[in-house]
Subunit: 159 residues, 2 copies
DNA sequence: ACCAAATTGTAGACAAGGCTACATTACAAG
DNA sequence: CTTGTAATGTAGCCTTGTCTACAATTTGGT
């Protein structure tokens, strides 16, 4: 029990199969969070624009049945991301709101990057809806730096 | 029945909620294909390097139990992507092989793009494992063009 | 105040993807 | 050729995410 109590070794020295397994595991986790993230972002959107988020609207925007939406919203509540009383619409908790903000930023950054690389807006928007859930903070930062640089390059070329 | 038999109208003129619903739907589809894509790519890998793809190896590389791997492999067979007899390892059909090649290309391109944007390799590799399944052909092309351009830019700067 | 329509909720089914525990088969060492 | 071990397969359970069908509630128009 003396060595490796925590095992903080990073990829390089580990068996390659373990590294790969870890990557796949991360992807599975991201997968399972993705749906919640989309719901929260969407609810936040509805709340911001219309002042309320009704399950029906959520369902229509997501393209699922209202029963499905309600069930997932129940899960949101169970996981402490949303609140709301029966027949009274959905609201976000502090955590939910924070997550929504994070997702909104991600979403926009991913779309902007794709567009900057020449992807048509509509396609960028569609791809981003999936990609956003798999972009780590490090990658997100890289995106944002690239966007800044390419913006300033464009600016300086104008002179 | 005269109008809109096929409804080929593209996003612009459609109700925005429908557009959004369509995007989410695409993402859901991609999600459900993602696992098969990873399996097929991995099997192809094992086949290429070791000559055989045993369920146990697949399981270990993916970080799931062998029972899970076997079940998913059954699904691969059911969907015409893989073959193989009991106790005899897994092989890929023509379609399976083609999909594996497509995924390998995607995977590499996504990793290369991320690295080109300054993401550390290990993180790029991890993120790509999720992103690759949500990158449309149009976006993929944009990635590859960006990589070409940035490569040639680097080359010409050397002169 | 009433009623019809919209919204919300509930029930029950199904497939996918994960797990553990147990059963079977193959293989290699002796 | 026996036998122990590794690999493979099977069974049964759980959760998530989807649906349809039906029930209950709320709400807006008269
Ligand atoms: Mn999304
Ligand atoms: Mn989004
Ligand atoms: Mn992958
Ligand atoms: Mn991959």
């Amino acid at each position: 029990m003396s060595r490796n109590t925590k095992d903080k070794r990073t990829a390089a020295e580990l068996p390659p199969e373990l590294t790969q397994a870890r990557r796949f595991g991360k992807t599975r986790t991201a997968q399972s969070r993705a749906l919640l993230e989309d719901y929260v972002e969407l609810i936040s959107d509805l709340l911001a624009t219309g002042g309320e988020a009704r399950p029906t609207d959520v369902a229509r925007r997501l393209g699922v049945s209202h029963a499905t939406a309600i069930k997932t919203i129940t899960r949101l509540k169970r996981e402490g991301l949303a609140t709301g009383l029966p027949y009274r619409g959905v609201f976000l908790t502090e955590t939910g709101h924070a997550l929504a903000e994070r997702m909104r930023t991600r979403h926009r950054l991913v779309v902007n990057l794709l567009v900057a690389l020449g992807v048509p807006t509509e396609i960028a928007e569609a791809d981003a809806e999936g990609i956003e859930h798999h972009v780590s903070d490090a990658t997100l930062k890289a995106f944002s730096q690239f966007l800044q640089i390419s913006a300033s390059t464009r600016a300086s070329r104008k002179s």
